[in-house]
Amino acid sequence: MSDDVASLSANQMDALREIGNVGAGNSATALSQIINRRIDMNVPRVSIVPLGDVPDLVGGPDVMVVGVFLRVYGKAPSNILFLLPRDSAFYLVDMLMGKKRGDTQKLDFMDESALMEIGNILSGAYLNALFNFTNISLLPTIPALAMDMAGAILSVVLIQLGQMGDHALVIETEFNTDDEGIKGHFFLVPDPGSLETILSAVGVE
């Protein structure tokens, strides 16, 4: 495969969507059990977008978000980014810490730690499902967290891709709690060379 991802076939896109589906489904179940709420999940979006357009997937480069970032090691190195609009992150902290909705107005050390743990659990659930599906074992690093503009946070992933090409392949799932209080975006962004490994593991080359 060339270094640019712009040439994927419909079959390949379907296979990636299915991977996103099982991975995010598992993550959504995990999150739902932690916060004891139903989570709705959309059909994963598999998109190949110019690097500069990726921030638009979450509302634009200057939208304020909380991002939990994990680097994934193994046969198919990737990046995972779990992005929550700021208000969603605050509400999630309220739930995790047993506070009233609206109590959290900024993140202290414990809040950040709780959100990183959520990122950890979601990633673990996602990668486990991916393993069952593809037999590729992937291990995430400990998470890192930042609250800032979406463009700035996404640039961490986009710059890595920028060395290899001008497009990003993103497998993205949107989560919503049943009361619409929490909206989150879960991104799996395979390194350019990893795509081939993932696709051949599911028998679509």
């Binding site: 961490v156 920028g162 060395q163 290899m164």
Partner: protein, 161 residues
């Protein structure tokens, strides 16, 4: 209302007063401006990486400091700027996530800032304003009517460099 021109990631725009050039949400990237105060011609470039020779995908020259800056220089000269009057300002180059064992790619912000300075020095263009480093995002803009370069952040306020 003066024209507001958006500069995307790995993109450059040039223009003349009264336009304002703006780039949103820079993290490790750098926003490099060139400005000629007499003709009020200027440009804003949003680079992602320091060096095009280290990359397999270098068709988009605005992605890199080493190719993007000379290209922008040519464009502002075409609009009537004089090289001897040009001044530069740079902002960005943050490290958004702190990792215990930060790899090279995590420190790309620092390398971007250094590359921007080296390239500008090589071209003989003085840097008269700088706001780089830190661990936070920046939205940057340059007002071509007066050369004011604004840096907006979420928690660290807004400043002019």
């Amino acid at each position: 209302m003066p024209e507001l021109v958006k500069v995307g990631m790995a993109d450059a725009k040039v223009g003349t007063a009264p336009a304002t050039l703006i780039s949103y949400g820079l993290g490790s990237c750098i926003g490099i401006s060139l400005y000629d105060p007499q003709t009020k011609v200027g440009g804003l470039l949003h680079i992602m990486l320091p060096d095009s020779t280290q990359s397999r995908a270098n068709e988009n020259r605005a992605k890199f400091a080493d190719t993007g800056i000379p290209d922008m220089l040519n464009e502002v000269l075409k609009l009537g700027a004089s090289k001897s009057r040009l001044v530069a300002k740079i902002a960005g180059g943050a490290q958004m996530f702190a990792f215990a064992n930060a790899t090279d790619i995590m420190r790309v912000g620092q390398r971007n800032a250094q590359a921007a300075k080296d390239v500008l020095a090589g071209l003989g263009i003085p840097i008269i304003g700088e706001d780089t480093g830190g661990s936070y995002g920046r939205t940057v803009s340059i007002d071509l009517s007066n050369g004011v370069y604004k840096v907006k952040t979420i928690d660290k306020g807004e400043k002019e460099i």
